[in-house]
């Protein structure tokens, strides 16, 4: 099991009063699945994503990634998990402006301790996969939004993660660029990468095999 959430709750504190954001989430994702989580803003979907991405810890309940309970992991072990097991794609791309596309893509490999030459080769490979082999020396401000997101996807998959987490990956893109991104996702899924995607657009969610809805912190499967 790639991802298993059992009775996961998350509260935020407004002053001293706990505000429940996620209520007893139960979710199982098998290897190779492609799921979409839909919900309006404020429904807790980004919080869910942060929990799955080990950027945050649940208030209660257990979260297992690859059958490992994340609450037993040290901070460095979590960093390693984020580095090699998970790939992130954000709505705002989050590329580093002073680096060119190749260096941006190679960054996770730097933290994994891969040597310079290998990093560059793998980064070029990943950029080729997203169709940007011509743009390896372009900086983010010289690329369009769609291209930036493709660089970000290349960065997410360069370390060959099992799980790709995408938070509104098309939210900042026009329709054509969004479709391109979705094609890449489908291709990655065909190659065996498990994808968990958050979106509020039904047309985007339709690309997934399975759709969940989240509303007021409660997760339900699509019927």
């Amino acid at each position: 099991m790639i991802l298993e959430m059992t009775d996961v709750c998350k509260d935020y504190f407004r002053g001293k009063i706990p505000v429940p954001v996620l209520k007893e989430i139960n979710l199982k994702v098998e290897e190779g699945e492609y799921i979409a989580i839909m919900g309006p803003s404020g429904s807790g979907k980004t919080t869910l994503m942060n929990l799955v991405g080990c950027l945050d810890v649940p208030t209660s309940g257990t979260l297992k990634l690859n059958d490992v309970d994340v609450s037993t992991q040290t901070e460095d072990q979590l960093a390693k998990l984020r580095n090699s097991f998970i790939g992130f794609v954000f709505q705002q791309f989050h590329l580093l402006p002073e680096m060119d596309a190749r260096d941006n893509v190679a960054l996770p490999l730097l933290y994994a301790g891969v040597g310079l030459k290998e990093r560059r080769e793998k980064a070029e490979e990943a950029l080729k996969m997203v169709g940007l082999e011509e743009r390896i020396h372009f900086k983010p401000n010289q690329l369009s939004g769609g291209q930036c997101q493709r660089v970000a996807i290349a960065r997410a998959v360069v370390g060959k993660p099992k799980l790709l987490l995408a938070d509104e990956p098309t939210g900042a893109l026009d329709t054509a660029s969004g479709e391109q991104v979705m094609e890449i996702f489908s291709e990655l899924n065909r190659q065996g990468i498990t994808i968990v995607m958050i979106t509020h657009e039904p047309s985007i969610a339709a690309c997934a095999n399975k759709i969940y809805h989240i509303r007021d912190g409660v997760l339900t499967a699509d019927r």
């Binding site: 992130f88 989050h94 960054l107 933290y111 994994a112 997410a156």
Partner: protein
């Protein structure tokens, strides 16, 4: 690590103005330290040169009580030390490294024993033999030198150097006038000056004091009349002129041994004649001039501290600005220590760079100072290396707080901030 350094350099370059302003404190601090150190080095060189080089190759040999030079001014005649006679002087001059020898008595600082009318003379007084003036390159510029008749007849005559002449007889002709030495009237018969009078002529630490405290000069009487004004059988000092500069130490040592043997003094005796160790003296003099400058270094150090705080301030701003970057890096697997390392490197690179600029700026300042004000300067490579390393340490120390703040950022908050 190399990546980090490369990235930091890129960062510095992309924010040229800000980096420059951040480094300014460090640059000024390091530059002033380098300038001061150069001045110290230059000064030391000058002192050493004037002590050893320009001084007619004269070494003095005098009596020591253990580690300390025996001071006739404040102590009684030491027991069991016989006076030296002129035959012995010939023996000393026969030593092959020795050119000439002069025996003399002295008070480096005449303690209220010399007056001209109501004016007290605070310079030095010397009871000299007939070789003394030649040995120290004194030349008569007015009147006459000491004559054999002065020695034979115990004449109460005195020779002034030009400093003493102008301090005791401002605007007057001193020749034929009278000074009172220990209650005895002495007639001024001549004025002398050293041929190399433009250069500092330092024979000993006390000489240095005399020069440093704007000396009131020296006066000379015959060794013959010395007992009249001070004491009988006072132990004399020996001025040894070596045949050349290189044999100064050897000549001093040879004379020292000969005198000790003659007087039956050994290493175990309480008293012993010793020659000046010129290098050691040079060091002493350097230490004196250094101590004043070292206080300046502390002041410059404060500007480094202020510079360091400036660096900390800017680094904190940088961390805030780059919150998103930090969050992203954490999300894709950067560990805490990597983020810490990145920001520490950045601070250290920034300050080291400032240090290098400071060194360059300091050298330029030192050169300008020596050109404009005639202060001697010398460049010391180790001090430059230390300066750069030190500024790097400043970066590490003052960069630590901001770097820790960055490392501890919560990635969610970091990614959320727009």
């Amino acid at each position: 690590m190399r990546e980090n350094i490369k990235l930091s350099l890129q960062g510095i370059w992309s924010h040229k103005m800000r980096s420059m302003l951040t480094m300014l404190g460090i640059i000024i601090g390091i530059a002033s330290i380098i300038a001061i150190v150069s001045t110290i080095t230059g000064n030391s060189e000058m002192i050493k040169e004037s002590l050893i080089g320009s001084n007619n190759n004269v070494v003095t040999v005098s009596l020591y009580d253990g580690e300390w030079e025996y001071d006739m001014q404040y102590s009684s005649n030491p027991e069991g030390i016989m006076p030296l006679d002129s035959e012995f002087k010939d023996e000393l001059e026969a030593i092959d490294t020795v050119d000439k020898v002069a025996f003399y008595n002295s008070r480096e600082y005449s303690d209220n024993s010399i007056y001209r009318l109501d004016t007290s003379f605070t310079g030095g007084i010397y009871g000299v033999d007939d070789q003394y003036f030649g040995l120290y390159n004194y030349q008569v510029i007015n009147g006459r030198a000491l004559l054999q008749a002065d020695y034979d007849n115990f004449r109460k005559v005195v020779i002034l150097d030009n400093t003493a002449a102008s301090s005791l007889f401002p605007g007057e002709n001193p020749l034929g006038q009278v000074v009172e030495i220990s209650g005895e009237p002495f007639t001024v018969v001549g004025i002398v000056s050293q041929t190399k009078s433009v250069e500092l002529n330092i024979n000993s630490v006390s000489d240095y004091y005399t020069y440093a405290n704007t000396s009131s000069g020296k006066m000379f009487v015959t060794g013959a009349v010395w007992p009249m004004i001070y004491r009988f059988d006072e132990v004399q000092k020996i001025a040894v002129k070596a045949v050349d500069t290189d044999s100064m130490t050897k000549a001093g040592k040879a004379v020292e041994d000969a005198v000790n043997e003659k007087l039956g003094l050994t290493a175990e005796s309480q008293y012993q004649f010793k020659s000046q160790d010129l290098l050691k003296q040079a060091e002493q003099l350097q230490a004196m001039s250094n101590s004043t400058n070292q206080q300046l270094i502390w002041i410059a150090g404060i500007s480094l501290l202020v510079g360091g705080i400036g660096v900390m301030n800017i680094m904190l701003v940088t961390v805030t600005e780059r919150t998103q970057e930090i969050g992203l890096k954490k999300a894709i697997g950067a560990r805490k220590r990597m983020i810490l390392g990145q920001f520490l490197t950045e601070a250290a690179v920034l300050t080291s760079f400032g240090g290098v600029l400071g060194v360059i700026f300091g050298i330029v300042t030192a050169k300008l100072l020596s050109k404009i004000m005639g202060i001697p300067t010398g460049l010391s490579i180790p001090s430059m290396i230390i300066a750069v390393l030190f500024s790097m340490c400043i970066g590490l120390i003052f960069g630590f707080l901001p770097a820790r703040k960055a490392a501890n950022l919560n990635p969610i908050d970091a990614l959320r901030s727009e």
